[in-house]
């Protein structure tokens, strides 16, 4: 078991303090993320989903679960294209998310935008756009508002791929957060590729975490396929940020097991060595966590089904719900361009 030494004292790692009920919930969340991805790929393949791309998160589940599990209900997240399950972990219903994927009237964007470009400020989910990196800077504004409200303890977890760390807004956002010591936790999901481009053509340093030095903030580079590593690091980062010490960058090293999106499956096996994909298949975070759970001695095999079928059913029901729910009325395309409800007059 992993323990850490702090101020000379032996301390129990964060993940070791989790209850059995937590462990089972984490296990189920990992599976939720896995099945969410598999079932949408399948829906696209079978023509049940005919519009939009499916950006896979297979292999990156431990990051999504590990970075959200220790959050408080009043913390913020800003998920992007590979973080769809995070919307559910932070309070959206699976039905809402599926309506978004299918472009339905009930979707958070009312069918206006696609996939992960959605949010809900009541749930602390900050909306993103396609423009990679831009939410990192927007996150600073959300945190600034908390400062104005005297709520410096609310943390924002902003997700980004390693590729997007090359954008201007990423740099400007992290720099701003660091200068003003905002409680921003940047989770870099380093899945080794940005579309077809390998990480060494995106980032000049050996790790993405090294970028943190330039901002004078802590940077961690961890095994993103190890739930416990992600969870422990996140807990540490949260303590740091909540205490007013400013942002933290956590690089979760992982691998994009699929293509960039569902349309990219053939090419993704050409621009990457197949042996590399096979190697990372063996590092799948799900069997790894299951093995960990079995090793704790707290679980019987039968308590850890692969997959938990009720989750599959839940997702299928949400997909069916979305498919059967109404399309947006055409004229609503012209709604929500301006908000005149404030009725401001000269």
């Amino acid at each position: 078991m992993r323990t850490r030494r702090k101020n000379g004292q032996q301390t129990v790692a964060y993940h070791q303090r989790l209850e059995k009920s937590d462990l089972i919930e984490i296990y189920r969340r990992l599976w939720f993320a896995r099945l969410f991805d598999e079932m949408l790929y399948d829906a696209k393949k079978k023509g049940r989903l005919r519009r939009g791309n499916v950006y896979g998160s297979r292999g990156q589940e431990a990051i999504m679960v590990g970075t959200t599990y220790p959050l408080r209900p009043d913390d913020f997240v800003s998920p992007i294209h590979r973080d769809m399950p995070v919307f559910v972990f932070r309070g959206m219903t699976v039905e809402q998310v599926m309506c978004q994927v299918w472009g339905k009237a009930e979707a958070p964007t009312r069918g206006k935008d696609s996939w992960s470009h959605m949010g809900d400020m009541n749930l602390g989910i900050v909306h993103s756009t396609s423009m990679l990196g831009s939410t990192i800077a927007v996150a600073c504004g959300v945190l600034w508002a908390q400062r104005l409200d005297g709520r410096r303890d609310r943390v924002l977890v902003a997700y980004t791929g390693e590729g997007a760390t090359a954008t201007g807004p990423f740099h400007e956002g992290v720099n701003f957060a660091a200068v003003h010591k905002l409680p921003l936790i940047v989770v870099v999901e380093n899945n080794q590729y940005a579309y077809s481009t390998p990480v060494e053509l995106e980032v000049p340093t050996k790790t993405v975490a090294e970028r943190a030095k330039g901002y004078g903030i802590p940077g961690y580079s961890i095994d993103g396929n190890d739930f416990n590593a992600v969870y422990d690091t996140m807990c540490e980062a949260l303590a740091h940020a909540r205490a007013g010490n400013g942002p933290v960058l956590i690089e979760c090293v992982t691998y994009r097991l699929q293509g960039h999106a569902d349309h990219d499956e053939t090419r993704a096996r050409q621009y990457r060595p197949v042996e590399e994909i096979e190697l990372w298949e063996k590092r799948d975070p799900l069997p790894r966590y299951r093995e960990y759970l079995l090793n704790t001695g707290l679980f019987e095999e039968s308590e850890l089904p692969t997959p938990p079928l009720d989750i599959k059913l839940q997702i299928e029901q949400a997909i069916a719900y979305a498919i059967n729910s109404p399309d947006p009325e055409p004229h609503t395309a012209l709604e929500d361009i301006y908000d005149e409800s404030a009725g401001v007059s000269l």
Binding site: R51, G52, G103, K104, T109, G111, K112, D113, S114, H117, T129, S130, M131, L132, G133, G163, A164, A166, T167, G168, P169, A194, Y195, S196, T197, L201, E202, V203, R267, Y271, D327, P328, E329, P330, H331, T332, A333, L334, I337
Partner: protein, 328 residues
């Protein structure tokens, strides 16, 4: 003549310019190892090497800026935006850096760059993979704006854009990439389509339709339908949006006396507004009807199919507007 897709025409123009002039280089995201998101630069890396086919980090500012700097030092960079929407990250480089360069260098340092990439809607791309923001650059001095509709023009205009000594923003409508096929000249013919020259794609008597990009095809479809009703459309494909070929437009207007301007971007403040104003200024006495516009509604391009259809202009919209004009 070679019969090729719209996409292949662009690919060949880039290839032949790379072969012809060692100063030409390409830069963009995923353009080398993968050959581009749409495959426009497939095979280029193997032929021309990584110094001339540059896989860049996700840094649109730098991608365009590298072309600008290299242009100042005598090269001709062609930047690919994976989707034209992302040019917003490089907006400053196009507008404030490239656009002004010649002016502020006392005419000594021209900036021959091309910023190209897929644009436009009708593919369910939603907000950030569908836009037609040509009006941003249309409004910018020092920058030329090009958008072909047919393979031969795409081919000849790309060559002209690369050889032009000014910054060119080159829109490639993704809806046309693999849908439109046509003949292009052989490589040895050194075929060029001069920037700033429109082309009448269909001759007609009653109404002048001024348009560009994917809308040219919509207008031609509408013309075919209206022919059966005895309404004859003349369809002008601008090909270059800036500089505008007013001569071709005015010649046609003097013949038909009625004008319909069609563009895919939001109606307000679009390219059509400028064309309309110039016709009003320069050919008012020739007009028999108000100048009309068919364009997108003043909204974003939404994701859901019924919404996207509602916002973007259709062949029906052109037919209805033309009928109205014909009856005026």
């Amino acid at each position: 003549m070679r019969e090729v897709t719209f996409l292949e025409a662009i690919r060949l123009a880039l290839w032949e310019e790379m072969e012809r002039d060692p100063n030409v280089f390409l830069i963009g995201e995923d353009i080398g190892r993968m050959g581009g998101a749409f495959g426009v630069t497939e095979g280029f890396l193997a032929r021309f090497g990584a110094d001339r086919v540059v896989d860049a980090p996700i840094s649109e500012t730098a991608i365009i800026a590298v072309c600008v700097g290299a242009a100042a030092a005598g090269k001709r960079g062609v930047a690919e935006m994976q989707f034209m929407d992302f040019i917003s990250y490089g907006f400053d480089q196009v507008v404030n850096v490239a656009g002004t360069y010649l002016y502020r260098s006392g005419g000594k340092t021209p900036i021959p760059i091309v910023v190209r990439g897929p644009s436009g809607g009708y593919v369910g791309g939603s907000l950030y993979h569908s836009q037609q923001f040509e009006a941003w650059f249309f409004h910018t001095p020092g920058v030329k704006v090009v958008q072909p509709a047919f393979p031969d023009d795409a081919y000849g205009l790309m060559k002209a854009s690369i050889r032009d000594n000014n910054p060119v923003v080159f829109y490639e409508h993704k809806y046309l990439y693999r849908r439109i096929k046509g003949p292009i000249p052989e490589a040895h013919e050194d075929y060029i389509v001069k920037l700033g020259s429109a082309r009448v794609r269909r001759y007609g008597e009653d109404i002048t339709v001024v348009t560009y990009g994917a809308m040219v095809h919509f207008a031609l479809d509408a013309a075919q339908r209206l022919e059966k009703e005895g309404i004859s459309l003349e369809v002008i494909d601008l090909r270059t949006i800036k500089p505008l070929d007013m001569k071709t437009i005015l010649e046609s207007v003097r013949k038909t006396s009625k004008v319909l301007i069609v563009y895919e971007a939001p109606k307000t403040g679009g390219v059509g507004a400028e064309i309309s104003a110039r016709i009003a200024e320069q050919a008012f006495e020739w007009l028999d009807a108000p100048i009309m516009r068919v364009a997108a509604k003043d909204a974003f391009v939404p994701f859901a199919e019924p919404l996207e259809k509602y916002v973007l202009p259709s062949v029906d919209d052109i037919v209805f507007a033309a009928r109205e004009l014909a009856a005026y």
